[in-house]
């Protein structure tokens, strides 16, 4: 056959390189290669071409596009300049007020005696996502700052009582109005004031809700509206904590400034246990945090951060406690977005 006539040993090379060759043919190639410098050169070049082919296939398995998406999130966490940009974004977030506002008509179960307009009450629901702080005024001119991941519900028009519902953390500067008590519902415990400033925390994913009073006085109440009863009163610089699991209420003295710093963009830990530190960091920087050991729960932290990046904060924590951490960048999601970055904290 024609093929047979044209047969040359070098035709065995593709089989030789791909491994599809008999022992006998392999020996033939080896012998042929050592026969002359020319053969040796051809063999070398052919093997290099074969390798180049393999390199091209290998390169095709790495996607620069995907990798760049992943990298971008890291560039803007690790880099100082990027930090500045991130800060700008945060400021912009506050200025632009990118909160979700729901207005809905609900039938409001009002107490019999009410001086408000009868009929359904339109309720507003304001939500901040993690990484956003919002500031707003309520219909009675009360000012409210919403911390990350917070929802506040209030009626467009207040009734006899100024009632709002909080999930998350908020700082209130309540406009004084002795005839219309201002009540914040945080699950079981309500906070009733006439005109004062206080910080309330009620994150659904935490075991406890708390109130810290800055000035004036507040009363903690149980039960709704007309049926409510006072269970405790707070003086400035006192903190009340209600544990949802043990259903116990405790009051202790604190420095209120430590609990309200967040509204001025300051991240503060005031002898916080690691668990709480992790919760604050995860909301502040919008990341997931995983504690890999229970031992860390006993460590308490005291620190103040203003413009530090997540990495800077973690590095500083590392100095004061036997921890080490690693950061997993966010993964691209099918919807084109990114999952959160994940920080894993272990004992060193």
């Amino acid at each position: 056959m024609e093929d047979q006539e044209k047969y040359m040993t070098e035709d065995l090379l593709p089989g030789y390189f791909s491994g599809e060759i008999s022992e006998e043919d392999r020996h033939e190639v080896d012998g042929w290669r050592d026969l002359s410098a020319e053969n040796k050169k051809l063999f070398g070049e052919m093997s290099a071409i074969w390798e180049t082919r393999e390199i091209l296939s290998q390169m095709e398995e790495f996607s620069a596009k995907e990798a760049l998406k992943k990298l971008n999130s890291r560039l803007f966490v690790d880099h100082k300049r990027a930090m500045f940009r991130q800060r700008l974004q945060r400021i912009a977030a506050i200025l632009l007020f990118p909160v979700l506002i729901y207005a809905g008509v609900v039938t409001f179960n009002r107490p019999g005696k009410s001086d408000a307009v009868p009929g359904p009450v339109i309720r507003q629901k304001i939500k901040t996502t993690t990484g956003t702080i919002a500031e707003l005024s309520l219909p009675d001119s009360t000012r409210v700052w919403l911390n990350h991941g917070t929802t506040l519900e209030y009626p467009m028009v207040f009734g006899k009582n100024r009632e709002v519902k909080l999930s998350g953390e908020a700082y209130f500067e309540v406009k004084e109005d002795k005839t219309h008590p201002f009540i914040v519902y945080t699950g079981v415990i309500g906070i009733e004031v006439l005109g004062t400033s206080f910080n309330a925390t009620n994150y659904p994913d935490e075991d406890q809700s708390s109130v810290v009073l800055t000035e004036g006085s507040v009363q903690l109440i149980a039960g709704k509206a007309e049926d409510r009863r006072v269970v405790a009163s707070l003086k400035p610089n006192q903190k009340a904590t209600f544990n949802r699991v043990s259903r116990k209420l405790s009051v202790n003295t604190v420095y209120a400034g430590e609990y309200t710093a967040w509204k001025d963009g300051i991240l503060m830990f005031a002898d916080d246990p690691m668990e709480e530190v992790a919760g604050k960091l995860s909301r502040w920087f919008n990341v997931d945090i995983e504690l890999r050991t229970n031992e860390l729960y006993n460590y308490v932290y005291k620190a103040t951060f203003k413009d530090e990046s997540l990495i800077q904060v973690l590095d500083l924590l590392k100095l004061s406690a036997p921890i080490e951490y690693s950061v997993k960048p966010g993964e691209p999601l099918p919807n084109g977005g990114y999952s959160k970055q994940k920080v894993i904290i272990r004992r060193r």
Binding site: S18, G44, M46, F62, S63
Partner: protein, 188 residues
């Protein structure tokens, strides 16, 4: 883009230039790193770290050689560092650094995917049609020589003859992409 503009852009933290360089070199740097660490996930991490540090330390960047050599040498150093620190040398030694007599591949051109692909494409176009078809089945179709023979109902010998012919033609067309050690190897 001209090299000096790339370096300049990199130094001034130009994200467009950064992205361009990343897209141009990423797959090649990963593949090159596989020579040292045959683990795709590890080399991807190392190469990404390299680019993060390139971005962060762009101000202090000094590139005496070409940007290309700089990137590949940095990647290699990171691989060697990784092997040293992670004491995984034994685990990977099977293939990486397995051939200490083979000098480093300093012709980085072959690890620039876009350039190599373009050169390959141009070279393939010069092949006789049948020869090209068979070679592409082997190269792009990932088929074994025997499988190609069956598919085209020709003998395996004919298949190998055609692939061999293709490779012979390609070696002159792709001489800029052949490994630097080839010369040394041939002189031995």
């Amino acid at each position: 883009m001209e090299e000096k503009y790339l370096i300049l852009g990199l130094k001034s933290n130009d994200k467009i230039v950064f992205d361009y360089i990343f897209n141009h070199y990423y797959s090649g740097l990963c593949t090159y790193s596989l020579r040292y660490i045959p683990d795709k996930a590890v080399v991807e991490d190392l190469v990404q770290d390299l680019f993060v540090s390139l971005w962060i330390r762009s101000g202090q960047l000094t590139i005496d050689t070409s940007l290309r050599s700089y990137l590949f040498i940095s990647a290699k150093n990171r691989c060697l560092d990784y092997l040293k620190h992670n004491k995984v040398r034994e685990k990977f030694n099977l293939r990486s650094l397995a051939n200490p007599e083979e000098p480093d591949d300093t012709n980085y051109n072959r690890y620039v995917e876009l350039e190599l692909r373009a050169a390959f494409q141009a070279a393939l176009e010069k092949l006789p049609p049948r020869c090209r078809e068979i070679f592409e089945l082997s190269r792009f179709g990932g088929l074994k020589n025997q499988e190609i023979a069956e598919k085209l109902t020709i003998s395996r010998r004919t298949t190998e003859n055609q692939i061999s012919l293709a490779m012979k033609l390609l070696r002159t067309e792709l001489k800029d992409f052949l490994p630097a050690w080839l010369l040394i190897y041939l002189l031995r």
